[in-house]
Subunit: 231 residues, 2 copies
């Protein structure tokens, strides 16, 4: 299934709730006018594929709400989730400097995105230093994310990695609740089998450091979890 929900047409950028943090937050009114008409909104359901590896494409995306996974494949076909994107994360940046997308992007929840044409971004980029700076920040953010994944989610025991994932998925700054996805995806992020993922969560429940409020929705004992994350 590469088909998405229908494009929802022109976006209302001026009233965008992400206006401050989204790409283009630093544009002048003139520059903004150039892209504005070319921005479109996309809505994805869980499991929908935004694009695949090596797809040609002409768009950048900003995640408005929801959560997507960025997947790469090993030579033998097993998949590995290399990044999660949410908040105001930008995905598809590699198209600014290359010919193809480098990931497969799949929605893990209902997800809304904005779609920008690369050509327009590139055009503005040549004259607008602020956008340039903004793009560099986005790149650095993606890089920091990838490295954090490496350090937090790929180092240590299964329990430790799981604790770091749960902490990272906390809804807000001072929330203690988080929403988890399938065990298979958990395994693909943390480099473990679905059985180990399941067993680890069960043990957390038994220890009382997580409580399942409703399906796949957990309430964490954050301090305890932070301890586990550093053992």
């Amino acid at each position: 299934m590469t088909l998405l929900q229908a494009w929802e047409g022109e976006a209302d950028c001026r009233n965008c709730t992400l206006r401050e943090s989204a790409l283009f937050s630093s544009l002048t009114e003139d520059d903004f006018a150039v892209v504005h008409g070319q921005v479109e909104q996309v809505t994805m359901s869980p499991g929908d594929i935004l694009y695949k590896i090596a797809d040609p494409g002409y768009h950048l995306f900003t995640v408005r709400s929801g959560l997507v996974k960025l997947v790469q494949y090993l030579p033998d076909g097993t998949q590995r989730i290399v990044r999660l994107a949410f908040g105001a994360d930008v995905i598809g940046l590699e198209m600014m400097v290359g010919e193809h997308y480098l990931h497969e992007v799949v929605a893990l929840r209902t997800t809304e995105l904005c779609r920008y044409p690369i050509a327009a971004v590139n055009r503005i980029c040549t004259t607008n230093a602020a956008l340039h700076a903004d793009l560099m920040s986005r790149w650095q953010r993606a890089l920091s994310e990838a490295e954090a994944s490496l350090v937090l989610l790929s180092t240590g025991t299964a329990k430790r990695r799981m604790a770091n994932l749960l902490l990272r998925l906390l809804d807000g700054q001072d929330s203690s609740e988080c929403f988890l996805f399938s065990r298979e995806d958990v395994g693909s992020i943390l480099n473990m089998t679905v059985e180990t993922a399941s067993r680890t969560l069960s043990e957390f429940k038994r220890q009382g450091v997580i409580k399942e409020i409703r399906n796949n929705h957990f309430d964490l004992d954050v301090p305890a979890m932070k301890v586990i994350a550093t053992i």
Copy 2:
């Protein structure tokens, strides 16, 4: 030891062997004249530290020869190598958009670098679109590297990860020789103990897929190694 070998003074950029692939390869003569006087060469011995995490700094670096590791630390103090840099890799890019370095950078072999002032790069960046594009490519390259590390060096069994590391360290395109560093650093890249690293290499020797030519210098049976890397 944060002390480096003495700065070796002004670089001879015009005759640089990396001229084509180094940062600034796309500069005009005028722009080039601006930075030229500000570029300096650095030489590091194995174990020397270029900079530490959270160090303030005003420089980007290009690796001219040798090999450095980029290290991050877990809350409990254990270290993890998040990237290796060599060839014409640029390090310290995060200083273009932030206040501090995000890694500790340590030489694994005798290493030569060029040092550019961030301020000069930023200045040229505002007028020179080619440099802009070049910088974005560097960022994307670093990101691809980080993700390749995740997929190749952090997925699968110890043997598989080791095989991928050895293949990645091959001297040249069609060389079968590679130079390895300490078992502790190997363990820090592949997320395994020094004992497992040592045992894995010993098994490779017994199987005949690697031969130790001289200390830590191996000749690989590349096809066999590629098979191991995909099992």
